[in-house]
Amino acid sequence: MQDTTSDKVFNVVNYIFLTLILLLVLYPLIFVLSASFSNPLYVLKGEVLLWPKDFTLEAYQKVFENKGIISGFVNTFKYTTIGTTINVILTIMAAYPLSRKDFYGRNVIMALFVFTIFFSGGLIPTYLLIQNLGMIDTLWVMVIPNAVAVWNIIIMRTFFQSTIPDELRESAMLDGCGNIGILTKIVLPLSLPVIAVMVLFYAVGHWNSYFQALIYLQSRENFPLQLILREILIQGQTDDLVQGTEESLIKQQLSVEGIKYAVLIVSTIPMLVLYPFLQRYFVKGIMIGSIKG
């Protein structure tokens, strides 16, 4: 099929536009990378523009010096894989029934779910609950209290509703397929893109989380990566608690500038690798054509 002239113009404009966006985003990212390898003094003075100035590995050294890094990585990996698995399974278990128009009570249940986005009892009752359940300082506190996100249920439900035609379901039922069968044999295989998105959303959520760990974990050997990385950043900040100023505190403040960027790079690389890996699931659905006729 030949492109019309307007199509050719569109192509060119499209590529230009996307390239501009690419550069706009790329520059600051390169800056972050360079800053992580630069002497923090120059970063603070604004003299680092594109390439590292006064190349140094000091920031990364400081980050890896922290004895908790390895266990942090292992823990985060644990929490992320177990957590994401639970998340995705539960999300499917809620999104599918809600996507069925003949599921009586779907709107009430949806409203009840949505209500929890806005109203919550806050930290204290939740903490007491978790404490009473004996989950403090365990693996479970990192994967159960945040087991499902309403946003994601809604997104998945929307996807099921708008991409799985009713006719497909009906013909499956005619063939003697039950609800669960429809879910596993038809809906899920066709929903790989949205499942990939869910895996991404939840995995990133776990990977970046630190607040849950901050409040509920006590033993350092259970700490996730973000918490460990945060420790060294906190130690370089002034506090309202500190009255006098101290020389090494100042020097530490300066080096925090560089550490900030190194921390970012270290904690982000795995996630940047995950996305391209999941991208291959964003392929056009195979089935739609087969229904027609």
Binding site: P125, L183, M271
Partner: protein, 325 residues
């Protein structure tokens, strides 16, 4: 078996006055429930999760109406009614806070919402796979940058002698005081937000676009439609349910202007545009943990957000098929 399917699909659940039909309806309702028993079973663990971890602790909302004293617990702390809300409403800064918070929220909604959609639509048209994958991964990366780093970079580039002003000088203009000028604050906040989140937000639309019926495109091309026309008439309507749902959800976050980024971008000279509810509450709690006050303000925010969501959802229902409930 066919008959029962037909039955449930023909009977609409409307408010009907006729008792006889109601009786028939309720009988079919129970039939429907029983027939889909496995769906109910499927969703039960999730419902249990919400009851335990979200509804159970909800009694904590009371904190907003009490003078919370930790050792007395939530139940034992004295009831003070709307005292904290009153304090918030009586503040000299109340209207400024509402204005700034709501203003930033709406500005974000109007600007940051369409851009990821456009990006997804454009990326979808790219046929060179390597280029597409590269752009996707790169623009998704800023989402992972910590707020501290993003604001740090922003302020660095915007300094009176920073990169942006140097470019302005090259073009013959005068240096702009971006950081201290209240008029610039909201724009800087919103556009840096867009920069950081547009890649991440486009993912969901990209996923939705994979479900667009290829045959529709083929027949449109046969009819001679240009790409632009095809995007407008096929792609966009196909992902419309996703767009609408996300719009509704985002409308429900309009007052949820985060604390950290504003706090880092704020200074005494731009406060008139940059002081929002979350930073105000933070300042009021700086001396001691003001649980009750921040709980009250938080509740106020949530109520406004919830109302926004319900309203937008209602309009969505009127205008098209897609809505939350």
């Amino acid at each position: 078996m066919n008959k029962s399917i037909e039955n449930t699909e023909n009977v609409q659940v409307h408010n009907v006055a006729n008792p006889k039909v109601s009786f028939v309806k309720s009988k079919t309702k129970w039939k429907a429930i029983r027939r889909n028993w496995d769906l109910y079973l499927l969703i039960t663990p999730v419902i249990a999760y919400f009851i335990i971890f979200h509804y159970f602790p909800m009694y904590g909302i009371q904190i907003a109406f009490k003078d919370f004293i930790a050792t007395k617990g939530i139940w034992g702390s004295p009831w003070v009614g709307v005292k904290h809300f009153q304090r918030f409403f009586d503040s000299y800064y109340f209207w400024r806070l509402i204005g700034n918070t709501f203003g930033i929220g709406i500005y974000t909604l109007l600007v940051a919402f369409p851009i990821p959609i456009i990006i997804a639509l454009m990326l979808n048209e790219v046929r060179i796979d390597k280029f597409k994958r590269t752009v996707q991964t790169v623009i998704y990366a800023p989402h992972f940058l910590s707020t501290v780093v993003v604001v740090g970079m922003l302020l660095l580039f915007l300094k009176p002698d920073g990169l942006i002003n140097q470019v302005i000088a090259l073009l013959g203009g005068k240096s702009i005081d971006f950081i201290t000028e209240p008029a610039w604050f909201k724009t800087l906040y919103v556009f840096s937000d867009v920069w950081q989140t547009m890649g991440w937000s486009s993912i969901i639309y990209l996923a939705a676009l994979t479900a667009v019926d290829h045959q529709l495109h083929e027949s449109a091309m046969i009819d001679g439609a240009t790409r632009l026309k095809r995007i407008w008439h096929i792609n966009i309507p196909s992902i419309m349910p996703t767009i609408v749902i996300l719009f509704i959800l985002n409308a429900g976050s309009v007052m949820a202007v985060g604390f950290e980024k504003i706090y880092l971008m704020q200074n005494t000279l731009n406060m008139s545009a940059s002081d929002v509810i979350s930073t105000f509450v933070y300042r009021s709690g700086i001396l001691e943990a003001q649980y009750s006050f921040s709980a009250a303000v938080g509740l106020f925010n949530s109520i406004i957000n919830f109302i926004m969501l319900v309203m937008v959802n209602y309009f969505a229902k009127k205008v098209n098929e897609t809505s939350l409930w």
